[in-house]
Symmetry: C2
Subunit: 286 residues, 2 copies
């Protein structure tokens, strides 16, 4: 049971975790901190949080669990602000989509070493919506949460964060920081870039109204992730720069191959590639 | 009311049209022709068709409506086979995703001129499933069907095809052949290439099992179209070669731009691009 939880950043991800923990009576009191007053008021009215804090210091004061759920670009400043105000027994975790940048931020703030009570985490869940009002109690049911604890982690802190996510319905797995970032670059970050890029290139065309008008259902699904929060995805793109550029490079080579086959009218090659892709997807999702 | 409809190719697209027409009692008798015996038997048992024809000649004999619903690569041979056997009052239409290739096939088969009773068409609908068993009565409800009639079209033939699709619940619009192919290259064909390419590049990696394991919901939506029929998409990629290569070229320039911004850590530029894309998508779908 969490006594007092400080939620820094009250959006879809943090808000959904609070809803799930409250539904399970796994937290006594939630203090929310954020930059948008209206969003915080809404979170309070909806029961996502129990109290609004007006500073990070007030939020984390006496909290035994601190959840950092802001875009990656805002993590370091928050760690800085909380540094002198954390309780003795506080455990801190985050939900950032890139783990290396959070680890580096923590190292810089805490004198070169990630503190043993800081457990980096990343729930593999979300929708294209954002804000406290879009929080869902069931968002993490059956979904995976990846924790990337460092070698010096405090086992009790790791257990506490693991237990919290399990209470929210998630399956918790552990992974190395760099490996996490490479896997996510391929499965999440690159697809977002492609979706944003495709929608943008269509929107720039003279006939864009007509183009969207005649887009079929497949396009709607394909482009759904281009409705995601642009600030969050700017931060992710920069924070995971190296793995993302590597996976983009591999994808470009694949596009080169496909283009060459279309140019050369190589029907057999296209059929083989499309069949292989279909097989891979069907194997994993059917 | 259609008296006798010859459905050449009994898959998702043609089968769903038959289900819709039968539900509206807009067709008396459906004769199906196709290459897969098992699929035809299933279509007969499910009531998608009323009779199996063993040749194209038998299928189109006495039919007042002929619907060609096969992959683009198989259209020309079918037109050739039906040529000498069509009834006096027969109207022929198709459902191909590329109109130029169908028009060229018809020109070649019918001595250089698309016959006035041939009305090229394309329903903007589908799922990633295929085969008669996946046919849905409501597939075309509220969806758009693009007809690309040529200047010499017979107005009665055009009206008959238009009425058929309206009976199936679709909104029918007319468009030029080339314009259709350019619009579809951007909104449908390119997204399919990107989805196939991304899934294939991930599947080729050593850690592909793990990669798919940790793919989030966004990836599932994004990659759904990579489960589409590979033969159909090989044919589309080749049939719409020029417009597809043009739109792929534009997309590559967009990717260059995004890559340069990530390399140069241009957060403002990324935020602007992602925001513009989100806005465009939300404007069209919310």
């Amino acid at each position: 049971m969490i006594r007092r939880l400080a939620l820094l950043g009250v959006g879809l991800i943090g808000g959904s975790l609070m809803r799930a923990l409250k539904a399970e009576q796994a937290v006594e009191h939630v203090v929310g901190y954020g930059r948008e007053e209206e969003n915080l008021q809404q979170a309070l009215e909806l029961g996502v949080i129990d109290e609004i804090a007006t500073s990070v210091a007030d939020a984390v004061c006496n909290a035994d669990m601190v959840v950092v759920a802001v875009p990656l670009g805002a993590v370091k400043a928050l760690l800085d602000e909380m540094k002198e105000h954390l309780a003795e027994d506080a455990v801190v975790t985050d939900v950032g989509s890139v783990k290396w940048s959070v680890v580096r931020d923590a190292q810089q703030v805490f004198d070169g070493v990630v503190p043993p009570w800081f457990i980096p985490g990343h729930p593999i869940a979300g929708t294209e919506n954002s804000g406290a009002a879009s929080a869902l109690t069931a968002l993490y049911q059956g979904r995976r949460v990846i924790l990337t604890p460092l070698d010096n982690r405090d086992e009790a802190a790791l257990n506490k964060v693991t237990a919290m996510w399990k209470k929210a319905g998630a399956e918790v797995v552990e992974m190395g920081v760099q490996h996490h970032d490479e896997v996510l670059a391929a499965t999440s970050h690159l697809p977002h870039l492609l979706a944003y890029g495709l929608v943008d290139v269509l929107a720039r065309q003279e006939t864009s109204r007509e183009i969207f008008h005649f887009a079929a259902g497949g396009f709607r699904d394909f482009s759904r992730i281009a409705s995601s929060n642009p600030t969050m995805w700017r931060d992710i793109s920069l924070a995971n720069r190296k793995p993302l550029l590597d996976t983009l490079d591999q994808f470009r080579k694949e596009l080169d191959e496909i283009e060459a086959m279309i140019r050369g009218r190589e029907g057999d090659g296209l059929l083989e590639l499309f069949s292989r892709a279909k097989q891979a997807r069907d194997d994993h999702y059917e």
